[in-house]
């Protein structure tokens, strides 16, 4: 195909033609704008939903391996380090993150806006590998401090005397307790229990310790255990717990993250006791310990209902309270697979090994999202297809009007390809303008939906800040989509115009 018409002159001719035929093109552009807007809007919506559902809720490239609830032999399968190593050696596996549940009764309590909250933790406390949340916002402090840094120096025992002890006696008692700093752990525990403070973890002061530390059961400064909560628990608190207990709601999760809530919520965790617990574990010894946790962030990877701490703490506590066996068993193993195409083969291997995959609706949801996206895309295609027909009509009409003009251009040296290029160029520019306007409309509509959602829709688990995902690929694709359909619509008129013998065109 040979063009005599250079790109610069082509643009000039196209610009002039569009300017003088602007009225004709308005209706066509309107269709393109609406079609592109719906295309971009729905594609971004499905992309956004897909991102939340398959990225956060049910990651499609992530498999959670669990032990089967029953086996043919009756011998339970356990998830332990040998399995972790085996999985790690599998091809296509990019990350292995074991999870461990707290395997004995315990209780948490904390003060939130002046209200004392108590909640059971046995079964509601998960230990996860800090690597699993690495890179997530606000999770830098999610580390096993005691394993990495160790415990600090001796702290003042700081047990606040109960009210029935007179102030003068209290001072003496404090002094006596201070003298016990060097005593053995058993003596310390016995004294505390004898004084009736054993289960009152909030009585532990952190005097003599740096900030973010508490005075542990062994009267040594320990960094508070970093705790992650899920968005779901915040939303549950706001939606049900706070209203029924006359408490102030935290607000949105984003507000909770931004406001002091994150810094003030300290959890006093009593290990070894709980008012009620479904866990049937024979404890190694009748023992209780107080530890203090500090909420450091909100994570989608945290246990939905409960608190999540680095796995090292859980492993140590399980070992101390429930024994070595419990401390060596994982509740599940999260496995990241490099390519989602590798997931089926990995899941098959997991089954062959006698384990199961935690129920994931990723596949089903993926299919559902695909079908819904397809439906929306078909609608967009219909809208823009009608616009393309409209574009074709407009160009047929314009070519009929500009017949002589085409003849003149041919007489002064335009090739057939030049005529085609002029018309297709006009169509492409109209498509581009329509595409950009449509994209703007789509993005505007998306922002409006997000705004309405943030202001008027109550928080729900995994509620995203935006429902839309306008990727650079989508933006480019939407504009290309508009240009493509406009050019497609103008293709036949352009060919017809180019095929006109110049003499006939000049004759009008």
């Amino acid at each position: 195909m040979i063009f005599a018409l250079g790109f610069g002159p082509l643009l000039r001719i196209v610009r002039q033609n569009i300017r003088r035929n602007a009225k004709h093109f308005l209706l066509s552009v309107f269709g393109i704008v609406v079609g592109t807007a719906s295309f971009a809007f729905f594609l971004a919506l499905s992309g956004g939903v897909r991102k939340v559902v398959l990225g956060d809720i049910f990651p499609i490239d992530r498999v959670e391996v669990i032990a089967p609830k029953a086996t043919f032999t009756g011998v339970p399968r356990t998830l332990d380090n040998s399995l972790v190593d085996k999985i790690r050696a599998r091809p296509g596996v990019s990350g292995v993150y074991p999870k461990m549940k707290l395997g004995f009764p315990s209780r948490g309590s904390g003060k939130l806006f002046g209200a004392e909250l108590y909640f059971p933790l046995g079964g509601f406390m998960d230990g996860i590998d800090p690597a699993l949340v690495a890179g997530d916002k606000g999770t830098a402090a999610f580390r096993d401090w005691e394993a990495e840094v160790g415990v600090g120096g001796v702290c003042f025992p700081g047990i606040r005397p109960p009210a029935f002890i007179a102030p003068t006696e209290a001072a003496r008692l404090q002094a006596a307790l201070a003298a016990l700093v060097g005593a053995t752990d058993d003596v310390k525990r016995t004294v505390r229990a004898a004084l009736g403070f054993g289960e009152e973890c909030s009585n532990l002061r952190a005097e003599g310790c740096p900030a973010d530390h508490y005075c542990g059961w062994d009267w040594r400064c320990r960094r508070r255990v970093p705790v992650l909560l899920s968005r779901a628990i915040i939303e549950l608190y706001n939606g049900s717990f706070a209203p029924s207990h006359g408490l102030k709601p935290i607000g949105t999760v984003e507000q909770a993250l931004a406001e002091r809530f994150m810094k003030v919520l300290k959890l006093d965790i009593l290990l070894g006791r709980a008012p009620m617990s479904g866990i049937k574990v024979e404890l190694e010894q009748d023992r209780i310990d107080c530890v203090q946790g500090q909420l450091i962030g909100i994570s989608q990877k945290a246990i939905p209902i409960g608190v999540t701490v680095p796995i090292g703490y859980i492993r140590r506590w399980n070992e101390a309270f429930a024994g070595q066996l419990v401390a060596s068993r994982y509740s599940s193993i999260v496995v990241d697979v490099r390519e989602k195409e590798d997931v089926p083969a990995f899941v098959e291997w997991v089954r062959d090994e006698g384990f199961e995959q935690e129920d994931s609706y990723a596949e089903e949801l993926s299919s559902a999202i695909f079908i819904i996206t397809l439906l929306f895309l078909v609608i967009s295609f219909i809208i823009i297809g009608i616009s393309a027909v409209n574009i074709a009509h407009t160009f047929f009409m314009l070519i009929s009007e500009r017949r002589r003009e085409i003849g003149i251009l041919r007489a002064i040296g335009a090739t057939r390809a030049d005529v085609r290029r002029i018309i297709l160029g006009e169509a492409a520019v109209i498509g581009f303008v329509g595409g950009v306007l449509g994209l703007g409309l789509g993005v505007g509509a998306a922002r409006l939906v997000d705004l309405i959602s943030s202001r008027f829709v109550r928080d729900f688990p995994f509620k995203p800040a935006t429902y839309f995902d306008f990727t650079p690929r989508l933006i480019g694709g939407a504009i290309a989509f508009a240009v493509f359909f406009c050019v497609l619509g103008a293709l036949v008129p352009a060919r017809r115009a180019a095929a006109m013998p110049p003499a006939h065109a000049l004759a009008g």
């Binding site: 040979i2 005599a4 018409l5 250079g6 610069g8 002159p9 000039r12 001719i13 002039q16 300017r19 003088r20 002589r404 003009e405 003849g407 003149i408 251009l409 041919r410 007489a411 002064i412 040296g413 335009a414 090739t415 057939r416 390809a417 030049d418 013998p501 110049p502 003499a503 006939h504 000049l506």
Partner: protein, 249 residues
């Protein structure tokens, strides 16, 4: 003087329509035009003179026969080559002027530069062409604001933009009053005489044909007579007639 014909037409036939509606417009027309010659083609409406001009200009295709312009056989030229020939070597002047109203006068004149592969200085050359027809000062005007004579002169300036060797004119004075028509014809004569531009003018006006060196008469799609003084051409066929009589340019 013996010169190679710049235009050579051999046995050209052209008809329009299909089946019973088929109408023969040109019947075995042959014609030679020497370089630098000014030829008038005359005949009644529908005689085929404009069709012959269009075929010579490459604006229409002959059903049969051969057309050579500047030694190039149209049958061997593809669309791009034919377009380039029109752009560089042939200028067209039409009765209807065929100017584009959405462009200024100078843009109309410079329009052929758009299809000339991006040669620079188009505006300066357009103004120069306008200067040749005496309209340099009207470059910024729109064609709609010009008189008929001015429009035709702008169309002539556009035809001359690339300094073509051949100017094909289809009833160039048809829409002009007699005085303006005379001016245009005078300009054509000077162009032919001073710059050696070969001119082929389709007309039914006596005064235009009188200005030509040779007059070719067409009736019912056939050349029925050629009269006038012509530069000498090599033998080229029965239809090519050379006489020493005829109007003096």
């Amino acid at each position: 003087m013996v010169a190679e014909p710049i235009i050579r037409v051999r046995g050209v036939e052209k008809s329009y329509g299909e089946g019973k509606a088929r109408q023969s417009v040109l019947r075995s027309v042959s014609l030679d035009v020497a370089a630098g010659e000014m030829v008038a083609i005359v005949g009644q409406s529908g005689s085929g003179k404009s069709t012959l001009l269009n075929i010579i200009g490459g604006l229409d295709l002959a059903d049969a026969g051969e057309v050579f312009v500047e030694g190039r056989d149209y049958a061997q030229l593809d669309d791009a080559a034919l377009s380039r020939l029109r752009n560089e070597q042939i200028g067209f002047v039409f009765q209807q002027f065929h100017l584009l109203d959405h462009l200024t006068v100078v843009e109309n004149v410079a329009l052929p530069s758009f299809f000339a592969g991006g040669r620079g200085g188009a505006e300066a050359r357009a103004l120069e062409a306008l200067g040749r027809v005496g309209l340099r000062e009207l470059g910024d005007r729109r064609p709609s604001s010009l008189s008929g004579g001015q429009k035709q002169r702008v169309a002539i300036a556009r035809a001359l933009f690339h300094r073509p060797r051949i100017l094909l004119c289809d009833e160039p004075t048809g829409n002009l009053d007699s005085e303006t028509g005379r001016d245009v014809v005078g300009f054509f004569q000077s162009l032919n005489r001073d710059e050696g531009v070969t001119m082929l003018i389709v007309t039914h006006e006596e005064r235009v044909s009188q200005a030509a060196q040779r007059v070719v008469r067409i009736a019912d799609g056939k050349i029925v007579a050629q009269e006038g003084r012509s530069v000498e051409l090599p033998p080229s066929g029965a239809a090519s007639v050379r006489t020493d009589e005829g109007p003096t340019p």
